[in-house]
């Protein structure tokens, strides 16, 4: 087929900018209720911080303060752990599983009833789009409570021929990328197994956890079973180091994960760490290319790229690289960046000024290292923390933007020729949380899923989550699994 002469005549180009455009369609905020100030939630009550200090929670899309939140220290953590221990010994561990399950179901149902409110606050506090907080975060958070509610009275069937007992008091520290979902992800299995918890939300996104505290209170959960202490790394450290905590569950950066692991070494504390990632998303020439392009988009631009399992290293087979990159650029040109509360927004605000600074620094590093940067031409708001969707071409394994986790809408693209080459490159990273494979050949999928050292390998899809499916990493991406049957194990002593 002779296409060369025709393409040389006129370079076809698609125009996504001018013409018919979507009018703004902001989600209403009239129905939500936000206090000016939030305290800790300890022993079933909202209590003021021991130190009397509060810190602001900022809407990253407007840079405005939306509420003040209690700044916790060791005293608050100690109070919360004591409350949890008391509730554990006196009420929760003695309660039959079926009864515990009822509370979890009740929490799940109230979350569904208040889903709109939770979604709007999640978007305001964290910067993620309403499309995602409404369609992903909130329903999935409720689904985790529903799922683990079902296990509460069936734990002996989950681990046949083993004697099971709860661990005790769990200290849980969650990140800012999926605040409500991570809270559900941590609290639901812990409670189902008969543990009591002290949760420390991230300092930039504490508000939905406080809404969850209201829901937990409204569900009539016995006081002390769930305690939430706000604050920064100091409160987190106090929780990790508290001598009466039996288990630490942490999701966050690899650096902090290492600190935690050192801190609890030599103690009786159990731990699960779910840390960073730098996932390989692999596109073979025989893949359904248009759907693979969509998978690249979902893989890296979902939640502004603030996803530990984001497909941030793209490997494209050389024979289709040109067409994949062209299609990717076209698709990126249709992404709408802006007000997270607008139902048409695809990419919202970067979670904090600090994080935007970190991303911009990596953009500079990428350019300085000689990679070719391409960004979509979309308009971005003048206020707030925003970053255009970005890809880097002509990169190699040794580039820092390929090795290090950026945690933003930035994709590094490499090409490969053979399957062995791509397996080697995909595994050649300190991380091992997730990977994606795109091919029309089932045999290729099974070959790769067994050879890629990653906790989750998606085939012909990306960034799909389900409470029934375990999630967790290898190497510097951490250890232990959350979700599914496997997610129960860290919260149980098995004999």
């Amino acid at each position: 087929m002779n296409t060369k002469t025709t393409t040389e005549k006129k370079k076809p180009k698609l125009d996504f900018d001018s013409g018919w455009n979507y009018s703004p369609s902001p989600e209403s905020t009239g129905h939500i209720r936000l206090e000016k100030r939030y305290d800790h939630f300890i022993n079933g009550q909202f209590v003021k911080p021991a130190g009397g200090k509060y810190f602001p929670s900022i809407n990253p899309a407007t840079e405005k303060v939306i509420a003040e939140v209690a700044y916790g220290d060791e005293r608050d953590i100690d109070k919360a752990v004591k409350a949890a221990r008391n509730a554990y010994e006196k009420v929760w561990k003695k309660m039959p599983g079926a009864e515990r399950g009822k509370y979890l179901y009740r929490i799940a149902r109230i979350m569904q009833e208040r889903a709109r409110e939770l979604a709007v606050i999640e978007s305001m506090d964290g910067g993620k789009t309403i499309r995602e907080s409404r369609d992903v975060d909130t329903p999935l958070a409720a689904a985790h409570f529903f799922y683990y509610a079902g296990w509460a009275d069936k734990l002996e069937y989950a681990f046949p021929n083993r004697k099971i007992s709860p661990v005790g008091v769990a200290g849980q520290i969650i990140p800012w990328n999926f605040p409500l979902l991570m809270a559900a992800w941590k609290i639901a299995p812990a409670l189902a197994c008969g543990n009591c918890v002290v949760l420390k939300p991230a300092e930039t996104t504490p508000l939905t956890a406080m809404k969850l505290a209201e829901i937990i209170r409204d569900a009539g959960l016995p006081p002390g079973v769930v305690n939430i202490v706000n604050g920064d790394g100091k409160a987190g450290a106090a929780l990790v180091n508290h001598k009466d905590v039996d288990k630490i569950a942490f999701t966050g950066s690899t650096d902090v994960g290492k600190i935690i692991q050192r801190a609890i070494a030599g103690t009786k504390k159990k731990a699960t760490l779910e840390l960073g990632g730098k996932a390989a998303n692999i596109i073979f020439e025989d893949a359904a290319i248009d759907q693979a392009v969509e998978g690249i988009i979902n893989g890296i631009f979902f939640n502004q790229g603030h996803v530990c399992c984001a497909g941030s290293r793209l490997f494209v087979q050389e024979s289709v690289a040109e067409v994949v990159i062209r299609k990717l650029k076209d698709r990126m040109s249709t992404l709408i960046v802006g007000d997270p509360l607008d139902k048409n927004t695809d990419i919202g605000a970067i979670n904090s000024k600090e994080q935007l600074g970190k991303i911009n620094e990596y953009l500079k590093i990428g350019v300085d290292e000689g990679a070719e940067m391409w960004q979509s031409k979309c308009s971005i708001p003048s206020n707030g923390f925003f970053c255009r969707p970005t890809i880097f071409l002509n990169v190699s394994q040794s580039h820092r933007i390929v090795q290090e986790e950026i945690f933003g809408p930035v994709l590094a693209i490499q090409t490969f020729r053979t399957i062995d080459e791509v397996i080697e490159k995909a595994n050649n990273t300190p991380f091992g949380l997730s990977a994606g494979v795109w091919t029309d050949k089932g045999s290729k999928i099974f070959n790769l899923t067994s050879k890629l050292r990653a906790g989750v390998v998606w085939a012909n899809t990306y960034n799909k989550f389900d409470p029934t499916s375990p999630f967790g990493g290898y190497k510097e991406s951490g250890f232990g699994r959350e979700g599914g049957l496997h997610g129960l194990q860290p919260y149980l002593n098995l004999k």
Partner: protein, 300 residues
């Protein structure tokens, strides 16, 4: 024209992925001015169609009037793009529409089954064109396609295109009979490479008719062909698109797949007569704030 392309090697399609992408188009929220603009755009893209055994001259006349005067109470409305009739009514429609700019399209090639000889199909086409049709809607031979005789289908389309002269050729794939999205993609490639000016989903006589996943696959085929050759191909989903809301979702799909160059009635059409009245009802609602009953809009 002889085919040099191997249709066995057309790109593969992942149905789950297509459906996911469609769901994302459908979650776009079209409000206020963009809704009014979109509705007028959709109205201007409609091919008003009557393809029944019981069609009469009176019915065709009425339809031609409606095509030029969708709803005179509402000022500033565009006309529809075309009326689509059987070849025997082309002359009449042409006369009724005069120089209104509304095109006359005619189905040919033993519509809707396509079960006839090439000679009959060519005569059918020539008759429509000689009667004054601006556009010809042909059906492909689905039996030959499903049997894997891709070059047979290609040659047939190429011959019909030849017989069309200056008339634009819309090739109906009848996707409801093709069963897989891989087949839809393959049939699109055959039609485009054989000379189709438009590719069209359905005759409206087979269920399912136009669906969003099928339309997306065809739009992507058009885009890839455009990148390869620089040639623009039009798209017409037909049948089953009955509400303004769904029409807007199709426009979103066109906008985000092919861009703005395709967002006009030269390159995109709706084959759906019942759609017009729902669009008119929505436009009246946007103008007055209240919905009027269906009886306030003429059914032609």
């Amino acid at each position: 024209m002889k085919n040099t392309f191997d249709f066995h090697n057309t790109p593969v399609i992942d149905q789950v992925g297509v459906e996911e992408r469609v769901a994302r188009f459908n979650s776009r929220s079209i409000k206020k001015t963009s809704k009014v603009e979109g509705l007028k755009l959709a109205l201007s893209m409609i091919d008003l169609t009557t393809l029944e055994g019981k069609d009469t001259e009176g019915k065709v006349r009425q339809m031609c009037y409606k095509a030029q005067h969708p709803h005179d109470e509402l000022p500033g409305l565009p006309t529809v793009a075309a009326v689509c009739v059987y070849p025997t009514f082309v002359k009449l429609a042409k006369k009724e529409l005069g120089n209104s700019g509304v095109q006359v399209a005619s189905v040919a090639t033993a519509f809707p089954s396509g079960q006839s000889t090439l000679k009959v199909k060519l005569d059918d086409t020539k008759f429509a064109v000689e009667s004054g049709a601006d556009e010809v809607d042909m059906v492909i031979s689905r039996g030959e396609f499903l049997a894997g005789n891709y070059n047979f289908v290609f040659d047939e389309i190429a011959e019909i295109k030849n017989a069309c002269g200056n008339a634009r050729l819309k090739v109906i794939l009848e996707t409801g009979e093709l069963s897989t999205l891989d087949n839809v993609r393959r049939a699109s490639e055959i039609a485009m490479r054989a000379g189709a000016d438009f590719i069209k989903t359905s005759t409206g006589k087979i269920s399912p008719a136009a669906t969003q996943p099928v339309t997306l696959v065809m739009l992507e085929a058009i885009r890839d062909y455009y990148y390869e050759t620089g040639i623009m191909i039009g798209m017409k989903p037909a049948g089953g698109i009955s509400t303004a809301k769904i029409a807007l979702q199709y426009l979103v799909m066109v906008k985000e797949t092919l861009g703005n160059a395709w967002l006009n009635n030269i390159w995109f059409r709706f084959g759906a007569s019942s759609l017009a009245n729902d669009i008119l009802m929505q436009l009246c609602k946007e103008a007055t704030g209240v919905y009027q009953g269906a009886d306030y809009f003429s059914k032609d």
